[in-house]
């Protein structure tokens, strides 16, 4: 874990406060927080590249779509990621190349399964070039 990802107590779910020096960094740390809830991120090797682009009406919805993409890729293809390159990030979309590998039971410990990424209490703020957001994962 790093100083950009801070877990907070939430009765039924898991909450996390993310910070970053830029928007792409905020999104990268958010993705790392997703995989930290799921497994040990250090155990995920970035062998395989995977590309996708997303569109959304605003930044908050884009962030949730971004994290939901990982939930979808994990559930349907059992893919885990640890490296995230984001291009052309703006409130209406992004293009990403992410690196990871397929889940292997012998190698990756699944700590918990995330059921959904929620909009609960979600807000993205910026102060003096420092970006912050809070995400509640439904477990």
């Amino acid at each position: 874990m790093n100083e950009h990802i801070r877990f907070i107590d939430h009765t039924a779910d898991v909450g996390v406060i993310i910070s970053g020096q830029s928007l792409p960094e905020l999104f990268q740390h958010a993705a790392r927080s997703f995989f930290s809830v799921l497994t040990e991120v250090d155990q995920i090797q970035g062998n395989e590249a995977h590309k996708f682009s997303l569109e959304a009406p605003n930044l908050e919805e884009l962030l949730v779509s971004w994290l939901n993409e990982f939930l979808f890729l994990f559930e349907t293809q059992e893919l885990l990621f640890s490296r995230f390159d984001i291009k052309n990030l703006n409130p209406n979309g992004l293009e990403a190349t992410v690196w990871g590998e397929k889940y292997t039971p012998e190698k990756h410990l699944i700590k918990r399964i995330i059921k959904a990424v929620t909009f609960h209490k979600l807000a993205i703020t910026e102060k003096n070039g420092q970006w912050q957001t809070q995400i509640i994962y439904d477990l």
Binding site: F7, D9, H10, T11, A12, D13, V14, P57, E60, E61, V64, N68, F72, E75, T76, E78, Y103, P105, L109, I110, K111, R112, I113, K115, A116, V117, T118, F119, H120, K121, L122, D138, L139
Partner: protein, 379 residues
Amino acid sequence: MRSGLSRDDIQKKIHQLVDTLFRNIPSGVGSHRKDLKLSYQELDRVLEEGAQWAIKQGYGSAEDREHLEACGCIDGADQKMVSDRAKERGRAQLGTLGSGNHFVEIGYVEEVYDVKAAQKLGLEKDGVTVLVHTGSRGLGHQVCDDFIRVMLEASRRHGIELPDKQLCCAPLDSPEGKQYLAAMASAANFAFANRQLISHWTRESFEQVFKVGPKFLQLEVVYDVCHNIAKIEAHDVQGEKKKVCVHRKGATRAFPPGHPELPFDYREIGQPVLIPGDMGRYSYVLLGTEKAYQETFGSTCHGAGRLMSRHEAKRKAQGKSISKELESKGIIVRGASRETLDEEIPEAYKDVSDVVQVVHGAGISKKVVRLKPIGVLKG
């Protein structure tokens, strides 16, 4: 489910039984039954037919149907309202338990509060029971994700101010509202089918362990009811009969005796309500009441509810072997990761008897029996 077995019949075989459940019912990441391969066309049928699809495929019997809410198929489902992404997530997950608080629990009737009602439900002291708790899995969550986007847009368009984005909404009679109800009903049907499959494999597990047929085991469905669902129902609102949408979140249905939606053999006593507790203590079977119909739109609580956050529970569990601790209390647990077990420790939940006492005392459901777990398969 109830059974013709007693606590003494299974005590010696409980390890074997839980291991067999673990083998037969997929619960970990990516695990699914090799004998259940679902085409997209078949999945569409699951979404529109629910448990009835499963019964037609040979998973369970026609008698099961009578004891499922809405006969295991919610009206108004339309698979076309479910996105391809949701179907993709759901296809491999039909017939899997899921994670977190989902489980299959073998127990026995520890205490009977209402002998007559218990008899009607086929429950007697020391009789073995099975509780299955699972739902629509990733498919349901994807339906939610898909419609949150639609609803956020609809909320903006309808000028609805939201205190929290997760509460986005649209009028029920709007196109978005109608589409959502059809998608939600499809997800509920997926959940009915899922529980039907898991119940079937539970029966098979018992048959394999005891080497007897279904007639001897008499594992019969007592009731199957949805949690966390919105339904269009007729209720008295300020003296007037009205069609309303009842959203039961953290709640379940508790219809009174005489309600036409109840199975014929339960009309006299009311709808069975199943309230799971934590895996170390107990669960309850209650019945719906007239008071619930009048005061809470025929609803009651659906579980114990958490007392501790997952983080707190983990801290509390540190250094302890939860499975060994439970085993010393006569409860065998299998399937879950260490992390899940820690987060699901009994102390993390409210004592469900306190919760049940409240709903019983308030008269919105009444106690019939208390169940004690002896074997748990955790997702």
